[in-house]
């Protein structure tokens, strides 16, 4: 998600906001690269954040290309907003727009899902039987949420009996808020955690945990709620330095943590959750639970044989060069967004940084030269630690912190300005990304 802008669209843009017109004077509009003539057929699989953005970029950059985007989803979801919806700060409408609103002229949208992909014949077949042949393919399907992997859970439980699941979509995030609102009114045990697979926005499970604690405190009910975070391994966050900071904040706020606990089942009627641990299954009673399921590549991608053969075998992320985002076995295939089999970066911020890299290599290929752009693993996570404050955590493949504003906005400090970015600056910069402008 959202490991929104997190999507990070304009960090620098926001500083500009803070600094007023001075920033404007220092920066002009983006330089328009020269348009390239081609008759190439380019297919984009998926019209989410990554697919829509690259469609707009290529439509601007290429002249004469046949660009086809395949996605059956009518709604576009601003996923970085789900946490805000699930905390009662925004309504479901905040994250919903229409796919068609973001697609450029000159790009053909096939509003059906892909049923099959044949990379040898360079052909997509849709669920409606349409055939899309391509010279170049950009895989931007995002990932699948494997709800069935949580035994006893179904999405119709969300909002009742203390069940929340804000990853499922804007409406479910709103239902999740109702469950959280009741829990923080009435008290009890709240269980949080994350799956053991790679996931989008690894910060999101922590954010909703922090927010639940803060909301209970604001209601004067902190003493009545017990909040337990279940980490899937021995860390609260992949970056050691961030793990330690979060651990410290959890300790200060009285949030309990359990390591090596992976949710496998819930009994919604009895309100009992089952966790797999190295010592065997553990059952825990709860009054509220936030369910985030295992995440995998969509089956059409896995069945097409694009996945890695020696890693993430249960998840199926596509086999790309981690710097060029180009498929290692099918050079005419690129990937953007969550589907990539790279060590980090299932966030909108990363999807944004994938854009110029894929554009550069694809256009270079069309022109018969070598692309030069490289993706360094940049990921951004505005880690909300309470309503009104966040830590702007940015990092790369090497676990280096890569702050956009070194010395000005400290990455591990709980700041109001980082909250402002998350709450108000992220969505417009995300929208600019969709339009290919950022």
């Amino acid at each position: 998600m959202t490991r929104v802008l997190e999507l990070a669209a304009s960090r620098r843009g926001f500083l500009g906001l803070a600094a007023g017109g001075a920033a404007l004077a220092a920066s002009g509009g983006a330089v328009q690269a020269e348009r390239v003539r081609t008759t190439a057929r380019i297919a984009i699989l998926g019209a989410g954040a990554g697919g829509t953005a690259i469609a707009n970029r290529l439509a601007n950059r290429l002249e004469g290309a046949t660009i086809t985007i395949v996605d059956g989803r009518q709604q576009h979801w601003y996923q970085p907003g789900f946490t805000l919806i699930a905390a009662g700060l925004k309504s479901a409408r905040y994250s919903i727009s229409q796919t068609a609103d973001w697609l450029p002229q000159g790009v053909t949208w096939v509003p059906e899902y892909a049923a099959a992909l044949d990379p040898e014949r360079k052909r997509i077949t849709t669920t409606g039987g349409q055939v899309v042949d391509y010279d170049y393919l950009i895989v931007a399907t995002g990932l699948s949420l494997d709800w069935d992997a949580i035994e006893g859970f179904s999405l119709d439980q969300v909002g009742q009996n203390g069940v929340s699941a804000h990853y499922a979509g804007p409406e479910y995030a709103e239902l999740s808020w109702r469950a959280l609102d009741r829990f923080t009114d009435q008290g009890g045990v709240g269980l949080f955690g994350r799956p053991a697979t790679e996931m989008k926005c690894a910060g999101a499970p922590l954010k909703i945990t922090f927010l639940a604690e803060d909301i209970a405190r604001r209601k004067g009910n902190r003493e009545r709620v017990q909040i337990v975070y279940n980490a899937q391994n021995q860390a609260l966050f992949g970056l050691p330095i961030v793990h330690h900071k979060v651990r410290q904040l959890f300790d200060e706020r009285g949030i309990e943590k359990r390591y090596d606990h992976v949710l496998t089942a819930i009994d919604a009627q009895r309100r009992v959750a089952t966790y797999a641990t190295p010592e065997g299954d553990v059952q825990t009673d709860y009054d509220f639970i936030n369910v985030i399921p295992p995440q995998r590549a969509p089956s059409v991608i896995r069945e097409a044989g694009l996945s890695w053969g020696d890693r993430w075998l249960d998840q199926g992320w596509i086999e790309v060069d981690r710097e060029t985002l180009r498929h290692l076995r099918y050079p005419e295939i690129f990937g953007v967004g969550d589907i990539l089999g790279v060590p980090k970066g299932k966030t909108a911020a990363s999807a944004k940084w994938h854009q110029p890299v894929v554009e550069d290599h694809l256009v270079a290929e069309i022109q018969g030269r070598e692309g030069t752009a490289r993706f360094n693993g940049y990921t951004s996570c505005p880690m909300i630690t309470r309503i009104g404050r966040a830590m702007l955590v940015e990092f790369d493949y090497n676990d280096n912190l890569t702050p956009s504003f070194p010395g000005i906005i400290a990455p591990l400090e709980e700041l109001w300005i980082s909250w402002l970015m998350k709450e108000i600056a992220l969505k417009p910069t995300y929208n600019a990304m969709l339009r290919g402008l950022a």
Partner: protein, 117 residues
């Protein structure tokens, strides 16, 4: 994001305030600025008496601006977490103070007319 474009900045502001409120504020600010220039040209000088009252009213504008930003962003003064937060807050207060002072000067000039020697 590496680049900040004017369009993006406008989009951020529109998102922050809502497009209607944002453009209404732009129009109001532009109108007050135009009136300020108008009274300066009309009077051919700054009136120190009006300027004094304008200065005295600056804290009102500063507080109003800060209150406004906190109200639209689900946050409060207790959320200030570091030096940059305080600087941003002071910047907002400063803009509010100067804007309100100009408004007060303009209103006085329009209501009382040019100062007589």
């Amino acid at each position: 994001m590496k680049d900040l474009t004017f369009a993006t900045l406008i989009a951020v502001w529109e998102e922050m305030f809502g497009a209607g409120v944002f453009w209404a504020m732009v129009l109001v600010a532009a109108a007050i600025t135009a009136l300020y220039v108008h009274v300066l040209i009309r009077d051919r000088k700054m009136s120190m008496r009006k300027f004094l009252l304008a200065q005295l009213s600056m804290p009102v504008g500063a507080v109003a601006a800060v209150w406004f930003v906190l109200a639209i962003t689900s946050s409060s003064l207790a959320d200030m977490g570091g030096p940059i937060d305080v600087l941003v807050l002071l910047g907002i207060a400063g803009v509010g103070a100067v804007g309100f002072a100009i408004l007060v000067y303009v209103v006085q000039s329009l209501m009382r007319g040019p100062e007589r020697e």
